[in-house]
């Protein structure tokens, strides 16, 4: 398989655009566009771990992460005829990943909104209520899993664009400029998105930071 693709990619790199020559995944996508399905297969092979990881960070649920990652590659497959190599392949792929993940979160949220009034009363009195510092403070017993839940909740309470900026910056190590290209805004806007996001995260997670317990476990 690798040989067949290398031949196509080689041909593309000689006659293809600059971005195709510098981004191997773009070359694969262009080869796929010309009908080489092995190129698509290699795209999946090369990128699925990153996509699954990103989806997981967006939705916080490993059970659904694979299904949604499949959805991402399905969209890439369907876009083969209209695809244009105007940016890095990863920029395009991460935009699709963010869209698929946030759509899934939205439909989950709307399912939650469908619960009956009785159930809603429970929800508001139950664990969703704002934690009372006095009763929730025995952080000595805070488990790693509990901390993860808090982190997930903190990320999910951010506005959508802040969520995307945080996930791409934190877990993909993307620069402000690359994030800007991914979500289609200016670098200045990303700067302000991340500043607000990190302030929000600090405020939400401060309670669990004060004891230092969580940090010890991370280190």
């Amino acid at each position: 398989m690798a040989k067949a693709i290398a031949a196509v990619v080689g041909a593309l790199q000689h006659g293809g655009s600059l971005s195709a020559a510098t981004d191997y995944d773009v070359s694969l996508m262009l080869a796929f566009q010309k009908g080489n399905e092995l190129a698509f297969q290699e795209l999946v092979e090369r990128n699925h771990t990153r996509v699954i990881g990103l989806v997981y960070r967006f939705i916080g649920d490993s059970a659904d992460a694979e299904d949604l990652a499949q959805e991402v590659f399905l969209r890439i497959y369907r876009a083969r005829l209209t695809y244009k190599p105007t940016a890095k392949f990863s920029t395009w792929m991460f935009r699709i990943t963010a869209n698929v993940s946030l759509n899934a979160l939205r439909s989950r949220a709307s399912r939650r909104d469908d619960v009956s009034i009785d159930q809603m009363a429970d929800v508001h009195e139950g664990p969703r209520a704002i934690p009372d510092p006095e009763s929730r403070m025995p952080d000595e017993h805070m488990h790693q899993e509990e901390l993860r839940t808090k982190v997930r909740e903190a990320i999910h309470t951010l506005p959508e664009k802040q969520q995307i900026a945080v996930v791409l910056n934190k877990y993909e190590g993307m620069s402000y400029a690359d994030i800007a290209r991914t979500i289609g805004c200016s670098t200045m806007a990303v700067k302000s998105l991340l500043a607000r996001a990190r302030d929000n995260l600090k405020d939400r997670l401060l309670l669990y930071l004060r004891t230092g317990r969580g940090r010890q476990r991370i280190a």
């Binding site: 995260l201 669990y208 991370i218």
Partner: protein, 165 residues
């Protein structure tokens, strides 16, 4: 140059921590943090909260993702073929063909009916040909529907034969 205010430092602190400031601006922030305890405490908390996000490790990936994905692509191709068959313009052309076929059949049938002297059975070769064509055009839809059902069955992994058992 006037020394930066705490308010200004806070507004660029995240970009500073991310290494996204120009060297000269970063240096101004660094100097402020050396002397301002409140801002340096704020910076420390921002960093600590950010580190907490490291607890969300990526989940282990089940082996065979690519194979499962390619199997899904096979299903996708079946679906694409099905959609192609059901494209509205194609359906419309079929309906127009069937309706005009029927209309032509009726006109010719009526003419033949009158011409053969009010016989009930189609008599002439032309009339019989028209009747056969009308039946075929009506069946065209049926043939199409069968193809759809078969494609659906293929997608759901069971055959029509199994249905009959």
């Amino acid at each position: 140059m006037t020394p930066p205010t705490c308010h200004w430092v806070r507004s660029v602190l995240t970009a500073y921590l991310d290494g996204e400031l120009k060297p000269s601006t970063a240096q101004a922030v660094r100097r402020h943090l050396e002397h301002c305890q409140s801002c340096s405490e704020h910076a420390k908390q921002l960093e600590q909260a950010w580190e907490t996000l490291d607890t969300l490790h990526a989940p282990p990936v089940r082996p065979g993702f690519t194979e499962r994905m390619m199997a899904r692509i096979v299903e996708e191709k079946d679906l694409e073929a099905l959609e192609e068959r059901l494209r509205p313009d194609r359906r419309l052309r079929q309906i127009v063909a069937a309706v005009s076929g029927l209309a032509a059949g009726l006109v010719l049938g009526l003419a033949a009916y009158t011409w053969t002297g009010l016989t009930a059975e189609p008599a002439s070769p032309v009339e019989r040909e028209v009747c056969r064509n009308v039946a075929f055009l009506e069946d065209a839809d049926l043939v199409d529907e069968m193809a759809v059902i078969e494609a659906m069955d293929r997608l759901s992994g069971k055959s029509i034969a199994e249905d009959g058992v």
